[in-house]
């Protein structure tokens, strides 16, 4: 069963199409990444998913049915444009948002205290939001999104504004929530987070779907490569010229020339190694490299995106 199904979503703003015929499905229990550059339509898509915006066309099924108040109570949402009441204490802010989702007051406050304690913010529980650092306030907001123990958690750019340490902490939180059986959908323009966390991803550019599938499937679509070192002044690019490899020098290492080779047109590292041997290249290093999600994205939608 899918926690979320979107079919043919379209959203226009004053003649500009922000989301264009977008369809995707988030399987229950998955960590699902919505990837794309700034302005790709990620936030608009998520705002439609949580019922804040109505799509101009298309259909959304949330937790097996149309978007309803009851369905949304099972959803935790961290918007991209986020903030809390500056004069509220951290625990009051978390409890307030949990109560709006239907959690009884005593439970909401107990969970707020427990979550803050568990995330190293116990000492800040009764401090006003305006006295917390930006990173701490953002952590409080993440906790506010999960305090009502939703089945489906939607985070819009959750890592932006966090330092590397807190990004790592947030990754752990996401994994823990997924381990507890919750479905996670988050958007990001930083591919590394998705690569580390996601079971499935949706790549969008200019409001349109570029790819949907597993991270592995996305990486397979990107060209892999290799890093090589040749001894002395051997010119590898000239030696392998005309064999269909894209080779570029990347500098010198211990007196050796270093090269980066992009493997395209169905050629693999085995063919590259064979070509090097045939050309008599004095290899000091031969290291096949795997494509990154960023490279997969570029391969799918082009550098300009």
């Amino acid at each position: 069963m899918n926690a979320l199904e979107a079919e043919g979503l379209v959203k226009n703003f004053g003649g500009r199409t922000a989301v264009d015929d977008l369809s995707f499905a988030v399987p229950q229990g998955a960590i699902y990444g919505l990837l794309g550059p700034n302005g790709a339509g990620k936030s608009t898509t998520l705002r439609m998913v949580v019922g804040v915006l109505a799509p101009d066309a298309g259909r959304i099924s949330l937790m097996g049915g149309p978007i309803t108040r009851a369905g949304l109570k099972r959803v935790g949402y961290l918007p991209e444009e986020r903030g809390l009441y500056r004069n509220m204490s951290a625990r009051a802010a978390i409890a307030y948002l949990a109560r709006l989702k239907g959690t009884p007051a005593p439970v909401a406050f107990a969970r707020a205290d427990a979550l803050l304690e568990a995330h190293g913010l116990g000492a800040a529980a009764r401090k006003k939001i305006k006295t917390l650092s930006k990173g701490m306030a953002q952590k409080v907001q993440v906790l506010a999104a999960i305090a009502h123990e939703p089945d489906f958690i939607i985070f819009d750019e959750p890592f932006s504004g966090l330092d590397p340490v807190n990004q790592r902490v947030l990754e752990e939180t996401i994994r823990a929530q997924a381990a507890a059986g919750r479905t996670i959908l988050f958007s990001t323009h930083v591919m590394e987070h998705a690569e580390r966390l996601c079971d499935r991803i949706l790549l969008i550019a200019q409001g349109r779907k570029a790819f949907e599938g597993s991270v592995g499937e996305a990486l397979a679509l990107a060209p892999s490569g290799a890093v090589l070192e040749t001894e002395g002044a051997f010119d590898l690019a000239a030696a392998l010229g005309g064999r269909g490899f894209a080779i570029e020098p990347t500098g010198e290492e211990h007196g050796n020339c270093r090269w980066r080779v992009k493997l395209e047109n169905g050629k693999g590292s085995r063919e590259l190694l064979q070509a090097c041997v045939e050309a008599g290249a004095p290899l000091a290093l031969f290291e096949p490299t795997r494509a990154s999600l960023h490279e997969a994205f570029v391969a799918l939608v082009g550098e300009g995106s």
Partner: protein, 480 residues
């Protein structure tokens, strides 16, 4: 479990009540209002007599003017004693006034009345008035206006250290016709000249009558001729007796109520504006929107701030009621005391509450809509200009409404729902019929429904689609 709309209202209420500014307003506003009302009276009472000198080419002119001032000071003192005893010790009033009237001069009269009260109502003696005369005629330190100018300009003080307020110079031309000159740096204040004019005018008339052979006794009799004036209220149930100050007082009270209502509606509606702007700038609305609808946020805010208003009204109402009771008891027959008593007895407070609820909902809706269109307080201030102008219009009508609450322009304007809350209060003492009140309420209800509907749409566009004045300007610039 509390419904989300009430949770929003509760948060809104606690956010205001938890702020120190709320408590500051709660406590200081009544003090400021009381100061606004009572300070001028207290200041006037505390002000020392204004020193005047009278120069006259004919000695009898100076004597008559000086006597007129003494007579007025005595009459003012008698009025104060009368007002005080009417409220504080009615049983002691007659005897005290007889004692007052039998004394030769003002100081002796006050002392005689006090002595009478000491015997008949000693408990009230502590609050017995000790009024200062408004003017005192002092000996001139110089005999010409030229020589008096340093005193009049404040460059020199009188021998007892006081400042000379003004000088009356009563001259006579070659044919004996009087010319009154009034010299004072207080250019707006012409009361001393008016009083001298009345005295000299009477003297001129008496001289003219004497020249025509009318005896002094006959002149006195003619001078005493004065019709009695009585004002009546023709409305059913008003009674056959003449209108008293107590019956006139509700009109004064209504003006006060309308002014307070205007201030209250404006300041409370402004809270809604700043509340929406705060939430927009805090970016908290997107978080709320998965739990509550924009309409629920709108209603929650209106309810929350309404609860804040109710808290203020209840506190100020109780305090105001106490103050009015005190004023009614202490100020007796004065217009202020009568106004206080009539406020306590009339239905004005009820109409005030009705006007406040309607005004709050109408202007609150407008301010919420405006707030949703603004990203900053600066933007809101620029948008508030036309709304403030709209709010000022009923204020401009309060003066004319006090003079004639049934004037066609007041009647017509009172049917415009945005003005109705204020002008309804103003018209109430003049006899607002049940049908008129019902009609006005119906129109206000329709206006509230319309404004609320529009506010909800604008609010939704503002908080969901980030529609704002700045965005509209940007879009227009991009098109150009």
């Amino acid at each position: 479990m509390i419904p989300p709309v009430l949770l929003v209202a509760r948060r809104e209420y606690l956010a205001y009540v938890g702020a120190w500014g709320f408590w500051a307003s709660l406590l200081t506003a009544p003090l400021l209002l009381a100061a606004l009302i009572f300070a001028p009276l207290l200041l006037a009472q505390a002000e020392p007599p204004r020193a005047l000198v009278v120069l006259a080419e004919r000695a009898s002119d100076a004597v008559r003017v000086t006597a007129a001032y003494e007579e007025r000071a005595r009459a003012d003192a008698r009025n104060e004693v009368f007002a005080f005893l009417s409220a504080a010790a009615p049983a002691a009033k007659d005897a005290a006034l007889v004692a007052f009237d039998s004394a030769p001069d003002r100081a002796a009269a006050l002392e005689a009345a006090r002595a009478s009260v000491a015997q008949t109502a000693p408990a009230t003696l502590g609050a017995f008035p000790n009024p200062s005369p408004r003017y005192s005629i002092v000996a001139a330190p110089a005999n010409s206006i030229e020589a008096l100018k340093p005193y009049l300009n404040g460059e020199q003080s009188l021998p007892d250290g006081t400042v000379l307020f003004g000088a009356l110079n009563i001259r006579r031309d070659s044919e004996g016709a009087p010319l009154i000159e009034y010299w004072s740096v207080n250019l707006q204040h012409s009361d001393p000249a008016d009083m001298a004019r009345a005295v000299i005018r009477r003297e001129m008339q008496r001289e003219a009558l004497a020249a025509r052979g009318v005896s002094s006794e006959e002149a006195d009799r003619l001078d005493a001729l004065d019709p009695q004036i009585a004002q009546f209220d023709p409305r059913p149930g008003a009674g056959a007796s003449a209108v008293t100050a107590r019956e006139q007082a509700p009109f004064v009270a209504a003006a006060g109520f309308a002014f307070v209502l205007w201030m209250f509606v404006f300041s409370i509606a402004s809270m809604l504006l700043s509340s929406v702007i705060e939430e927009k700038s805090n970016k908290v609305l997107d978080t709320l929107l998965t739990s509550v609808t924009p309409l629920e946020i709108l209603i929650g805010k209106l309810l929350g701030v309404a609860a804040v208003s109710a808290t203020l009204l209840l506190f100020w109402g109780a305090l105001g009621g106490g103050l009015l009771s005190t004023a009614a008891a202490q100020m007796g027959n004065s217009t202020m005391g009568q106004a206080a008593a009539s406020v306590l007895e009339s239905k004005l407070a009820l109409i005030f509450v009705l006007g406040f609820v309607a005004g709050y909902l109408m202007y609150g809706s407008i301010f919420l809509g405006l707030g949703a269109l603004c990203d900053s307080v600066q933007e809101a201030q620029t948008l508030l200009g036309p709304v403030t102008f709209l709010l000022m219009l009923p204020m401009l009508l309060i003066g004319p409404a006090l003079d004639n609450p049934n004037a066609p322009i007041i009647e017509a304007a009172s049917w415009f729902p945005l003005f109705t809350p204020f002008l309804m209060v103003m018209r109430a003492p003049a006899g607002l019929s049940g049908a008129e009140l019902a009609g006005m309420c119906a129109l206000m209800a329709a206006a509230i429904a319309l404004l609320f509907y529009l506010a909800a749409r604008v609010f939704r566009a503002g908080v969901v689609n980030q529609l704002s004045v700045a965005a509209l300007f940007r879009r227009r610039r991009n098109r150009e």
